[in-house]
Each structure stands twice: as structure tokens, then as C-alpha cells.
């Protein structure tokens, strides 16, 4: 007991655990954070999805409101953002599943996987948005 009492000044001299801001930002680290952010965004984005479905079930008038919002500039930005978040979170999830098996941890491999997530999500989003744009007859 005497040791613990006497040890208080010594305890203050212990090195502190480094926190986030001490590290140089790296792609894998940023993508890990983005994975969580996109997950949280999708969490709240599900509200829009629920609104769309409930409006469709409610009738043409309620559905017209959703159509108006989704067709507006803000609505389009939200939809495109939601699409990217969903695709990025899905690809990031696949990357994490690969890592869960213990594969892809070599420096070059993990950088490649992480970059592939980012590039893949952007490319897929552009493809999806293009399809959406042209099947709805462009800017209505």
C-alpha cells in the first residue's frame, strides 16, 4: 500500500498513449474513417428510403412529394451521395472481409485494396448515375 501511495508522482511520468493527431494520415487510416462515416450516413439515409416506400404505399399524392424532392437539385445531390456512400461502404466491407481472413495485409496489398475501394466506388457511382440519368431521359 505504501508503494501505491508513494507511486503517485512516478505515475505522472509515464508516457502517454499517442492519440490520432500524432500519426501521419495514411490512405488505409482515412478509408477506415470514411467507412465509418459512410456507414453513419447510410444509417440516416435509410430514412429517405423509408419515406420513398411509405409514400409509394400511401398513394399518388404522397409519392408526388417524394418525386418532387428526388428531382430537385438537393434531392439529386443527396441521391448521388447516398449511392456513393452505399457503394463505398459495400466495397470497404468486402475489403474488411478479405482482411478478416488474414489476407491482403502486405504493405502493397493493403494499399492496393484501399485504393481499389476508393476508385471502385467512384467509378461505380458514375456508372450508376449515368444509367439513372439516361433511363429517366436526362434532366427532366
Amino acid at each position: 500500500m505504501a508503494e501505491i501511495d508513494a507511486g503517485i508522482p512516478a505515475r505522472a511520468q509515464r508516457p502517454l498513449s499517442p492519440h490520432l493527431q500524432i500519426y501521419t494520415p495514411m490512405l488505409t487510416m482515412m478509408m477506415s474513417i470514411v467507412h465509418r462515416i459512410t456507414g453513419a450516413a447510410l444509417y440516416f439515409g435509410m430514412l429517405l428510403f423509408a419515406w420513398w416506400l411509405v409514400a409509394a404505399a400511401s398513394g399518388p399524392n404522397a409519392y408526388a412529394n417524394v418525386e418532387w424532392f428526388m428531382g430537385s437539385l438537393i434531392g439529386r445531390v443527396v441521391l448521388i451521395g447516398y449511392t456513393w456512400a452505399l457503394l463505398h461502404h459495400m466495397l470497404g466491407g468486402i475489403r474488411h472481409l478479405i482482411w478478416d481472413t488474414g489476407r491482403g495485409f502486405e504493405p502493397a496489398e493493403r494499399e492496393m485494396l484501399t485504393l481499389a475501394t476508393l476508385v471502385g466506388s467512384v467509378v461505380l457511382t458514375i456508372i450508376v448515375v449515368m444509367i439513372g440519368y439516361f433511363t429517366t431521359g436526362g434532366a427532366r
Partner: protein, 130 residues
């Protein structure tokens, strides 16, 4: 007492789960729902993309058709569970004040049930046409 005296019961030792009373279900269920989420998300994107800009009559007809409805219900249930665990993890990571933590965890559960049930109900209503 031939063995060393222990506070833990024999059953407790066999279960081996410790004071938390549960194991790695959190981790495992998040992986199960993420694997299921891959095909369901792709299907979800294809379905919603196909319905973009269509008339209300077309949308309710497609969403109410059995195959689409089942895929959408799977997507809703899977996503709801996945995001429930995910948000719980985020809350446990960042919210340290006891009352706020408990309120946040409850709000997470309420939100997920409300959004999940509303979405699922809408699909069922369109399917059964009542």
C-alpha cells in the same frame, strides 16, 4: 474443497464468457449481415435504379411483385440489423457519459425499429394490396 476456492461456478467456467455474459456475437453478426448485404445491396441498387422516374402505378406494381418484395424485405431486415449493430459500436466508441450513452443506445434501437418497420410495412402493404 480440494480444488482452489473460486468465486466462479463450474457452469460459468464451462461457458467461459466472463463478466460480460456474452461473447463475440457482435462481431460475428456484423460479418454475417455484411456478407448478406453484398448481393442484397447490388439487387437494391438495380431495383431502385429501374424504378427511378417511373410512374406511381408502375412503382407500386413492381415493389409489390413477389420476387422484388422478398428481396426488398431481406434488404430492409438485413440493413436494419447491420446498422443497429454499427451505430451501437459508434456510440460505445464515442459517448462516454453514462446517461447520454444509455439514451443514445435506446434512441438507436427506436430509430432502427421505426425505420425498419415502416419500410417493411410499406412493402407488405404493396404486396397484399390492402
Amino acid at each position: 474443497m480440494t480444488e482452489r476456492a473460486q468465486m466462479r461456478t463450474p457452469l460459468g467456467r464451462v461457458r467461459g464468457l466472463g463478466a460480460a455474459h456474452s461473447g463475440t456475437w457482435h462481431f460475428w453478426h456484423q460479418r454475417v449481415t455484411s456478407v448478406a448485404g453484398i448481393p442484397l445491396t447490388i439487387a437494391f441498387i438495380i431495383i431502385t435504379l429501374g424504378l427511378l422516374g417511373r410512374s406511381h402505378a408502375t412503382v407500386i406494381q413492381v415493389l409489390g411483385s413477389p420476387l422484388v418484395a422478398v428481396v426488398m424485405l431481406l434488404f430492409i431486415v438485413n440493413s436494419a440489423y447491420h446498422m443497429w449493430i454499427g451505430m451501437q459500436e459508434i456510440i460505445l466508441d464515442y459517448v462516454h457519459e453514462d446517461l447520454l450513452k444509455l439514451v443514445s443506445l435506446m434512441a438507436n434501437t427506436f430509430y432502427v425499429f421505426a425505420v425498419g418497420l415502416a419500410s417493411g410495412y410499406a412493402i407488405l402493404k404493396l404486396s397484399f394490396g390492402v
